[in-house]
Amino acid sequence: MSFVLGRFGQTVLVLLVAAFVSFALFRYVGDPVNNMVGQSASLADREAMRAALGLDDAFILQFARFVGHALTGDFGMSYRFGQPVATLIAERFPATLELALISMLIATGLGVPLGVWTALHRDHWAAQALMAASLIGVALPTFLIGIALILFFSVWLGWLPSFGRGQVVEIGGWTTGLLTTSGLRALVLPAVTLGVFQLALILRLARAEMLEVMRADFIRFARARGLKPRAIQYRHALRNTLVPVVTMIGLQFGNVFAFSIIVETVFQWPGLGLLVIQAIQFADVPLLAAYLVLIALCFAVINLAVDLAYLAIDPRVRSGGGVRRTA
């Protein structure tokens, strides 16, 4: 329990630091007043604006206000859209989360079993073909995969849509494309594009870890105990393989979420990535600040989830971290 509380405390700390960085970065990159008033505004107008925005207050006070507002979901107004940042993000968030979730689901669901299989059948031709393919998967840039898939499945075969999110259904403020055929069809190409690199990465790691574990003393001893190969491979080797693989999947999920920008641009996916690209082009500072904090929050939540997963998998973590001995 103290482990969970400790990790929770760390999460809060990480979020505060991230908020501080995004606050500092954007408050001091250029003068927001310049962006908000016209070129013709008088000095007095500027001062009034500055005072109204609280920009004259002490730095720490401004930061406290930023955090206070952020906690209530208030990140201010977007310069470009003239709408509350929170509303904009809430609109786009489901699209990106669904895309990231599905692509990680594909990557994990295929990567772990295939990695384990290639480790157990190292000399099989299919395993070697998979390893070669995974190398390509790691090396190919995401945008290239996306364009190639569009060319093949949308332009030539005409099977799947090449852009957009299809029809969406709104359930309690959450828009989902998972419940309509067109939504699902639209999801396939971007999710696969985003997932290919992750799939290759997870496959290679799962294979390497599995090979490592299969060489461990306790596996040799398990064989000496006469256990069935199936029990050795799945009950003993696989579980020990999962610890590092789960860590990586967690970290990669954060990456997928944060760097879906490229895929969203290629497929014109109406998610956060596309929003952020537009925000960057227009130096939409409040939106960018909020996005940064949100990404930090995602990473923090995922890390917390990974730590909790350790608790379930590894008894050594349960008993308080290090190796404890009771002689």
């Binding site: 040799r220 064989r223 105990r225 256990l227 579980r239 009771t326």
Partner: protein
């Protein structure tokens, strides 16, 4: 007395860069039911490889190139993997060197015991748990029933090796291959584990192939000793005889290099030179370059095994023809 384990002309080769190196060369020995055979030698002499071969756990690039292994009169080196697996843990069990890494860190010791028991014996889960608790009690683990729920990392090295012993004895095997079972342990714990191993074997009539480089361990528990050198067996005989009057010059050197607590002043004896590596085999007797008594023929002709009293010695000095001529 018929032999429980009979190894005949065992040869193990390790393929390296297309070349087959001989790790074990024409090794033959027997272990009778209930007997403890100590197998000694320097590291790299082939002790562990021999044990691994008996367990049928040789893995590429190592392979058995010649010889036969018989268990209870039945040839086991040609069994298919399923039949050998059924034998492993049931009839022939193993104890490995490092108790810290022999157990699956993610599984309770109770689960590891019951999974072994239920793999080989037709028992229900409650019966297997019962048996597991009894085993833990027998290997001297306090509060065995509670300990079933412990994970390996919650126990000390000595306790873990006791668990490994419980696993080895869990299906009442007739032979245990113990590969350096005490080497990784504190000296104070070593004696406890050895005593436990010996007591449990004597009680059940379990035979042991005790692989070690520690002559002290051999002197304490072994009935007979087999001395290995560079993949070959150089001398096999009753422990007392080997300790008192070893016939092979290498065995004598080995005995002389045991530190004697009562003679502080004497410098520790050592055998000059080092054992030939498998990739650079020596013609004739493998020990002749280091042997203080080497004859001319030792450099070219490999000595066969001669009987000397109750021992068997692979050395030309033990040749009865040469001895009668001298």
């Amino acid at each position: 007395m018929t032999a429980l384990l009979k190894v005949e002309g065992l040869r193990v080769e390790i393929a390296r860069r297309g070349r087959a190196m001989t790790a074990i060369d024409d090794v033959s020995f027997e272990i009778a039911g209930g007997e403890i055979l100590g197998v000694v030698g320097e590291s790299g002499a082939g002790k562990s490889v021999t044990g691994t071969a008996v367990l049928g756990l040789l893995e590429p690039p190592a392979r058995q190139a010649a010889g036969r292994i018989l268990f209870d009169g039945r040839r086991i080196d040609t069994l298919d993997e399923d039949a050998m697996r059924a034998l492993r843990g049931k009839e022939i069990a193993a104890v490995f060197q490092d108790p810290l890494t022999s157990l699956d860190p993610l599984m309770t010791i109770g689960d590891q015991l019951t999974e072994t028991i239920r793999t080989h014996l037709d028992l229900t889960q409650p019966e297997a748990v019962e048996r597991a608790a009894r085993l833990l009690a027998e290997v001297g683990i306090p509060a065995p029933r509670e300990r079933l729920a412990s994970y390996p990392h919650e126990m000390s090295g000595g306790m873990r090796q006791r668990v490994v012993l419980a696993l080895a004895f869990s299906c009442e095997p007739r032979l245990i291959i113990a590969d350096e079972p005490t080497t990784a342990l504190d000296v104070s714990i070593q004696a406890q584990i050895l005593d436990l191993l010996r007591a449990m074997c004597r009680e059940r009539g379990t035979a042991v192939m005790l692989v070690t480089h520690d002559m002290g361990v051999i002197a304490e528990v072994a009935d007979r000793v087999a001395v290995m050198y560079a993949g070959r067996l150089v001398e096999v005989g009753p422990t007392a005889r080997l300790l008192a009057e070893a016939a092979h010059p290498y065995t004598r050197g080995l005995m002389a290099s045991i530190p004697d607590m009562h003679r502080r002043d004497v410098e520790l004896a050592q055998i000059p030179g080092s054992m030939p590596r498998p990739d650079a085999p020596v013609p004739g007797c493998a020990f002749h370059p280091r042997c203080p008594h080497a004859l001319v023929r030792c450099a070219s002709e490999r000595p066969p095994t001669f009987a000397v009293g109750a021992s068997e010695v692979a050395c030309w000095l033990a040749d009865p023809v040469a001895r009668s001529a001298a």
